[in-house]
């Protein structure tokens, strides 16, 4: 155990800090759940990419920086610590990206990854269907290979596809063997959202914005080159990269540590009011202890990965931990704000442009998306503890 950063790690952190200080947008960007805000975030991503800071752990040849995981954690700490914008293309970059690196052909990597790193292509996800939510293996949308083997024909419907109305591409699982069931006969596909036969219908989310969408496929032709991994192996491809990425990459500790810091500031600025309810102080303390625990767990995991360990079902403990912690922190902020908590951003009396309210609404989704916390608890019980199905 040696808890000092190496000179290289320190130098990289300094570079990131200096770059952010010089380049952070003067004004907060608009919400990326709006068209205008989405494009503002795309422009910001381009700026990050030009500084080779958009995907620091990817190899340089693919638009990345070749950083180790400690440097990645440091990047995240500097990035979120500076209050930098949310990452608009992260579903592609953090979920599809690693999948392509592990399962994609060289041609696919060269074709998709640099453009993804630069956010020239924005990616939406296509997993859930109206009757396949927690039970994802119930997918019925089909991708059937043409007789000449040149393309797939896709029919069906996906839903809860985040920011799909603004995105360029969709990735997800489709049933390529019509006679198959459950986890078998699925293929992992990349589908351009401007293809003929694609219809996208926005769904208004809790915050009133078109944050996600339903996507309908009506005889959509997709070239066979867009299949990632072998035909029928889609479930395996999707699951192989699910653990570490969903657990840690997608929600690095820094963004929650940033929330904890803001919450402590909010508490200190409103102590006279907050301390009328002694349980608030407790919850504020737990924001710090919880986010520190999550950060420490990340460093421990990253160290074990560097020594060759594989991360299995314990990734599900991450999902539960960060989503419930994030919710608790935002609930605590709302309790401190009291009657001002309900005010939206355009209310003259709103506190801090209603950012706590926005975060509170989004935090409600945390225990639901990326596999509900009930499903995660089943995974922990069955695969980590070995309890019977």
């Amino acid at each position: 155990m040696d808890l000092a950063y190496t000179p290289r790690q320190k130098a990289f952190r300094e570079e990131v800090r200096a770059w952010l200080a010089a380049n952070l947008p003067a004004e907060p960007l608009l919400s990326y759940d709006t068209r205008e805000g989405f494009e503002q975030h795309r422009a910001w991503e381009r700026k990050l990419f030009d500084a080779r800071l958009s995907m620091v752990i990817w190899p340089e040849a693919l638009g990345g920086r070749g950083c180790d995981l400690i440097e990645w954690l440091s990047f995240e700490e500097e990035y979120y610590g500076a209050g930098a914008p949310m990452r608009v293309n992260q579903n592609g970059q953090l979920l599809l990206g690693p999948t392509l690196i592990e399962f994609g052909t060289e041609e696919q990597k060269a074709r998709f990854l640099p453009r993804m790193a630069a956010s020239e292509d924005m990616w939406a996800q296509g997993w859930s269907e109206p009757n396949a939510g927690s039970d994802m293996a119930a997918i019925t949308s089909k991708a059937i290979l043409s007789a000449d083997g040149s393309h797939y024909v896709i029919n069906g419907q996906k839903t809860w596809s985040t920011r799909a109305i603004f995105a360029d591409w969709l990735f997800g699982l489709f049933r390529s063997d019509p006679g198959s069931s459950r986890h078998h006969g699925l293929s992992y596909m990349a589908v351009p959202l401007d293809a003929a036969g694609v219809t996208i219908r926005p769904i208004q989310a809790l915050n009133g914005k078109q944050a996600f969408a339903e996507v309908f496929f009506d005889d959509v032709k997709v070239p066979v080159e867009n299949r990632i991994g072998d035909e029928g192996q889609g479930w395996h491809v999707a699951m192989a990269t699910a653990g570490f990425e969903r657990g840690l990459l997608l929600r690095s500790p820094a963004r929650f540590q940033y929330t904890a810091r803001k919450l402590i500031e909010l508490y200190k600025a409103n102590r006279a009011i907050a301390d009328r309810d002694p349980s608030i102080r407790d919850a504020v303390i737990e924001a710090w202890t919880g986010t520190e625990a999550y950060a420490l767990s990340a460093y421990h995991t990253v160290g074990r990965l560097a020594k060759g360990a594989r991360i299995g079902a314990e990734a599900s403990t991450n999902k539960i931990f960060w989503s419930e912690l994030d919710l608790k922190m935002h609930e605590t902020a709302m309790r401190i704000l009291g009657a001002r908590g309900e005010l939206t951003a355009d209310a003259p009396a709103a506190v801090d442009a209603a950012r706590w309210l926005d975060g509170f609404l989004f935090a409600q989704a945390g225990p639901i998306y990326a596999g509900t916390n009930e499903i995660q608890r089943n995974i922990i019980a069955e695969r980590m503890l070995g309890l019977p199905k």
């Binding site: 700490e77 625990a293 980590m384």
Partner: protein, 352 residues
Amino acid sequence: MDFTFTDDQLTFREAVSRFLMVEAVPEMLREIWETDSGRSPELRKSLAEQGLTALSVPEDCGGLGMDDVAWALMTQELGYYAIPDSLADAAYVATGLLNALPAGTAEREAWLGRIAEGSIRIAVDHPVNPLVADANPADLLLLANGDEVHAVPRSAVKVDSNASIDLSRRLGSVSWTPSAATLLAEGEAGRALWAQTLNRGALSVAGQLLGLAQRMLDLSVDYVAQRKQFGKPIGSFQAVKHHLADVATQIEFAKPVLYRAAYALAHQEAGVDARVSHAKLACGEAAWLAARKGIQVHGAMGYTWEVDLQMFMKRAWALDASWGDRGLHKSRVADAMLADGAALGPGHTFEE
């Protein structure tokens, strides 16, 4: 930056675990519970023969010079097997205190040498603990009188026993008279020794609590996989699964907190108090959750004397408030967190 253990440390832990698995079986625990002294000279002897009393004694005093980080693994094993012996009090907490005395202090080398060879039992007092654990069977007591640190032979004190619900804990109220002859340190030096001893005691207990949590989880997993109702193992029901998944999650996120605190103590970092208190809170909460969920999934069996779970639950309940209750540790965390200019948030997990 490497926040993991070395292969040697992990191998050592494995060896200790294998040893205790054989030496500290629950049946033996029950037998020792029934005795007047609550202590087994044979058990202490076999612990000493394994070298476990010598772990953190410095090498020049006949020990292995192991640090707090390695002890964070060791204490988990002591907790997991709930050994009915105060090994960590002498071999870790008292050793740390004696080791911090100025080199050349007459008693230091002598006592450290005897700890290493396993021929002395030492009980450690601290103002946060109203009673002294293992005062009765001790040969030597390290006692507090304000800032003063005294080393007092058992023959010079009167001990009134106080029964604990955990029959492995033998607590004593100690009456004694401080004298110049027993004084080891005072003033600033004394304060520093007691401050460090509180951290080491709290960390020792935190590790044991985490080990206890893991043991209670393992016992519960075994039980729910066997016990059948409605024609299937109760462990197949989601309500039961989710109880135990919550325990596993709490344990998973308490571990690195314990390790971080151990490193802070070993390296005498400025923020060590808050790190140790965080560890004590996280491990205590994991242990109490494991006890609560453990008894719940054991059903009525969990409320019996017969099922082994009770021994581990009682130890967890008792240890949680030793070496500082939650109020004390929460206050220490709050003091650090709410201080003006406190370094917290992203980027301050390892550096100020």
